[in-house]
Subunit: 287 residues, 4 copies
């Protein structure tokens, strides 16, 4: 909503005395005005995390200042990622047949909630094509031929497209294909996924049927970064909704859909605002 | 809170046309006034469930009316359990070292929240003894000698005590021993347990450490009827609380404790008010 | 989701013994199979409420059976409203400039969540016209000329349209005009409204600014039936979301929008499924 | 839980460039190790807020370092309050007849959740006396004689006691007397209060009866700093719980009690951990 031009750095690395002072001192010396700064220490692991946002003195040299900050952080033994508030992240949405997250995200984007460009809607089904076009969005159809080779072929084409479009974030908005380890490695960009969650967890297919059979009182959804281990990547956001015996499987599915929409939308917002730092199997979310 | 003398029946059995009419007709014919009635049908399984509460014409013959209702239900092919609003359920609390659920339940009971008598506080540790006595509650200490035999011996003594006290409900208020299948069978009374829950679930020890390591954003608690399968019995109530990276393991443990208190207290209330029907692996809760 | 043809009655009236038995007996005698029945008694006021859903023996005579049930209820001193599961309620959406509830409701309707027909999108602004058309929905523009007379004129035209379309439910999906008492009286159909809610409540304009200034930790939304007293009609559903000092006014507005969507969508679902009974200033929601 | 000796400063004042760098630089120069630092800017008002926690080089000179920090902050135009992790805040609990918050807070304190000393239980009724004594806590009874003079007299005695005990925090744990403006001024220490909240808000007596009559779907509780305007002080924490038409007034009261316990307990924790900064009518809570 703000027209302020700011830079935001996400830093992490081994903890050491004086980090807060050094980082803020560096920005101050260069004439920057720190707007927000949030630190966290993982005491068990001895790791330091920081999100720091500042107004640079010269908005014309954002790239230079970003690069210089990364170099400075490296000298402190830290890893840093710097992004500017005017950068529009290039996002690709992957969808299959279920379109609730797709519509929700596109409408939020059209309403100006995300500083991002939706550069591609990608699907293994053609069903979304018309809706994508009615929103004026480019739609790409990659059918999967059967077998491992069919998957490899489709993924190779997807990767080529994503690279050519300079995609910076992939969102799996109920995309019902598991991305291969190779795909994730070659892509080299963050991928956010959404899936249902239950207490207790259920393995195998038809999870809502299992949840109904088990009489769970809460159903949940989890947004996470995709890794090779399906549904096991670092968690960004989770939420639950209450259900009773009066809710049949279709009700559970419907309530699950509503939950998936809000949880995924929130996770994407946090990612785009440079609020999520990943380390090990988990995230630090500076909300 | 009410001084009304009422009877409440929990019925279940194969669905058939006319059940609601027959049950309510029966009560009406006997001069009863139905106060609440709640039905549920499990469409997949073809099972009918009902909770029905009524004021009997003659409060002096509660037992006869209860017995007669059970016979009536049997003739319809249904199982019924009838309880009266003036019956004080005899409850035994099992506790180990952690006393948060113990204090919470005792204070609720002292505040008049439960129509029940606390007839025994049972522990495998002596640590709770003094607090139990200061509340004026009978405390029983059953230490566990090592090995299977030690457990069998302690359980045999516990069973003897529970039988002699006519205990009707056992509450495991953070009791850190797994009850054997034999114990549950011989007891033949409902046992309510409370345990932590996570999305995703964690197997093995130190679950809060695992949850912290995995960076979960929600921690939960589940109250359920105890069965031979530990933590797998029919779920009565569940709830969650939000956590962030700022919360260390001690914070997770503390938040988990608060959750366990409220979830267990609610499950016990529903049980005592005859609101919980068990079937298969799940419950119908008429809240 | 179900293809079952059922009838659902909502009954209310002075409490008297035998009501449950009489109502269920009546349905049973006519060969109906009761699927769900839920009763409530307001003890203070001595009023009986029931929602009862049944499969009629003959799905060809739904109207006759409905009419006969209403007559039967009247003879018991009760008011009844009966609707069938295959009836598609005719709904008109009123919108002003903010379109988040509009899109959310239309997409739910297109996804088959509502047994209803969207027969009119009505607005005092032209801004929604294009979106309505892209969904294939009829859009009606009623600008308000200034003054009381302008309002009267616009309302008269709206009423004429609503009558001609046989509208059965009006939904104010962020419609920023207060409906006059005359409009509500002449319409004679339920009107559901959504508005923000806070603890504490704020009078006057710019409520999100006031909430921010006051540092509230929760913001809420309330869906209610519209009455002459603005924002004072019987409450159908409420929910809240947590905010912190880190959230500026635009964040509060955005979070409020998300809340308004889900709260309004739920209230409409309950209304369409004949789950809401109004009496006095409040509702009984048989969820 | 931690045995670390740390200092925590809460700073606020007019925003100016370089504040983060100057504050962290000052601590670093003195050999301190910053563990946590959290900043916030109120953009509308141009105010800067910070909570910063550090390990001082010399744990023997906590007072000197605290004093020196306050002087340093003043030179920057900031107000600072510094507290140490080993300081046990001296707390007085005010109670009337309802004892649920009293028991909950005492049990948390006994369980080691609060770094604080409970130095006085103060009441205008004798009903709590025995429970206080059984916990080994000093109980003071201040009955209110009728009229303004009775109140002035009781408050004067209370103030004398609080001063003599060096009380640093007063908690109104369901204390049903309004503290006078004079009392608050002479005390000069923070007072935390808990009260119920509703959407919409209800003026006048018997709020739970009013909420029931209005058919609200949520009831809430708010913990805030007491000011002359009853129930109008800066909000620290709020929460809500869902209710339905099935809940009578006693259920609403019971659910309200549970909510009051957790909301008040959380507010006190945040206050004791120096996480709450007050400005104007609101708080910044660094949770």
């Amino acid at each position: 909503m703000s027209l302020l031009v700011t830079l935001t750095a996400l830093l992490s690395g081994p903890d050491q005395p004086g980090l807060v002072a050094r980082v803020s001192g560096k920005i101050f010396e260069q004439g920057g005005n720190i707007l927000h700064a949030d630190q966290h220490r993982d005491m068990e692991e001895g790791v330091f995390f920081q999100r720091i946002e500042w107004e640079p003195r010269n908005p014309q040299t954002l790239q230079e200042e970003s690069d210089s900050f990364v170099v400075f952080a490296k000298a402190l033994g830290m890893t840093a990622r710097v992004s500017s508030s005017v950068h529009r992240t290039r996002v690709a949405l992957f969808v299959s047949k279920e379109d609730h997250c797709f519509h929700d995200l596109v409408l939020r984007w059209k309403a100006g909630e995300y500083i991002a460009d939706l550069v591609a809607i990608i699907s293994n089904h053609e069903i979304i094509a018309q809706a994508a076009h009615s929103y004026g969005l480019p739609f790409y159809y990659f059918p999967f031929e059967s077998g491992i080779q069919g998957k490899q072929k489709a993924e190779a084409l997807q990767l080529k497209l994503l690279k050519s479009l300079n995609v910076e974030l992939v969102v799996l908005a109920r995309y019902m294909q598991v991305l291969s380890a190779d795909f994730l490695n070659f892509l080299g960009k963050p991928v956010i996924n959404i899936h249902h969650s239950f207490l207790p967890a259920f393995a195998g297919g038809k999870p809502y049927h299992q949840a109904h059979e088990r009489g769970v009182k809460l159903i949940g959804a989890t947004a996470h970064y995709a890794t090779e281990q399906l549904d096991e990547g670092p968690i960004i956001q989770q939420d639950v909704v209450r259900v009773t015996h009066r809710h049949g499987v279709p009700d559970l599915v419907r309530k699950g859909r509503d939950l998936e929409k809000t949880v995924l939308a929130q996770a994407i917002r946090w990612h785009l605002e440079s609020r999520v730092l990943v380390y090990g199997h988990k995230t630090v979310v500076f909300d």
